[in-house]
Subunit: 189 residues, 2 copies
């Protein structure tokens, strides 16, 4: 299970509440790991019981109180231990590919609208990542301004973001390819 570890990484980057973690999982963490608030609260509770995180009750004015979580030394060494274990590449799951192969037994052209919709979603996601990159990693900063020491955290965050960008580019290009194929098969199926 990597959700614990994803939470540890996020809390090391910046401590926060379960709610804040859920938002980060929607945004920056979302391009390599997803989790809902229900999952996050459950896992945070377990992590607190295991002593991996420390909890601080924070009273707020004008909004509900929150619990701020931060990584404990035990959590840090749990993460270090996990980093040294080999992992296997994830198994891919693309429901859309099941549909594409299934379309052979239905009306192939009937899938065009759905594939176009997916293509648009991936294109939007790509635009969103590119905007984030332009905002957080403008060209000329970070990667090697001559003489300056690189910030490993920043560089690695950018490397992961480039992975998200490459993924969305690949998906839009592949879905274009699929659309060509579906259209070539013609409206008569």
């Amino acid at each position: 299970m990597a959700l614990e570890h994803a939470i540890l990484v996020s809390l090391l980057e910046k401590p926060g509440s379960g709610y804040e973690l859920a938002r980060r999982f929607e945004r920056s963490i979302g391009y390599f790991w997803t989790a809902t608030h229900q999952q996050i609260y459950r896992v945070l509770k377990r992590m607190a019981a295991d002593g991996w995180v420390d909890v601080l009750d924070v009273a707020q004015q004008g909004r509900p109180d929150k619990k701020e979580y931060s990584v404990s030394p035990a959590g840090r060494s749990a993460l270090a231990g996990w980093l040294h274990e080999p992992i296997e590449p994830e198994s891919v799951r693309h429901e859309i590919a099941v549909k594409i192969r299934g379309a052979a037994f239905d009306e192939p052209a009937g899938l065009i609208a759905e594939v176009e919709r997916h293509r648009r979603m991936h294109e939007d996601q790509l635009a969103h990542y590119l905007a984030g990159q332009a905002r957080d990693f403008p060209p000329g900063t970070g990667e090697g301004p001559p003489g300056a020491a690189p910030d490993p955290g920043r560089e690695l965050q950018h490397a992961v973001l480039r992975g998200g960008i490459a993924y969305e580019r690949m998906m839009t290009a592949w879905l274009d390819d699929v659309l060509d194929t579906l259209r070539r098969l013609g409206p008569g199926g």
Copy 2:
């Protein structure tokens, strides 16, 4: 749930036993959906109870008897119904990306060997897909020999395989990029 639907598609392409389905999920279906034999047997039982598949006991000599499953008319219409429902793109889960961001809090260079290993696995998978493509879709066949009617099933299978190829190409290129970044950060972290 798409496992049922992935099984329906596979059984429509060719009827077979649970064991055979498990092997297909390891091979050709594996590049867009994975399932173990335990899962497959459980789901096949449910699908048989729901009348989505027909079962035929086949006695064999020299090997254990098997149950051959094929899609019933009810299964076919269940698939058709599902094909017309919109689906959401899958959430991505890359444990390796969690590790890459986590490396900022450990020794970044310590991750190089693990990333190289993943890169090799993706490269091997790519070679495997390319070999399958060369075998099953040699250039000059399929996509448009002038005058011949295209086989939708075949063309769609190829389109999905091209997605697997594009995915592995993207992953190897991205992991090269990550390796550059890790090496640039230097052995001193």
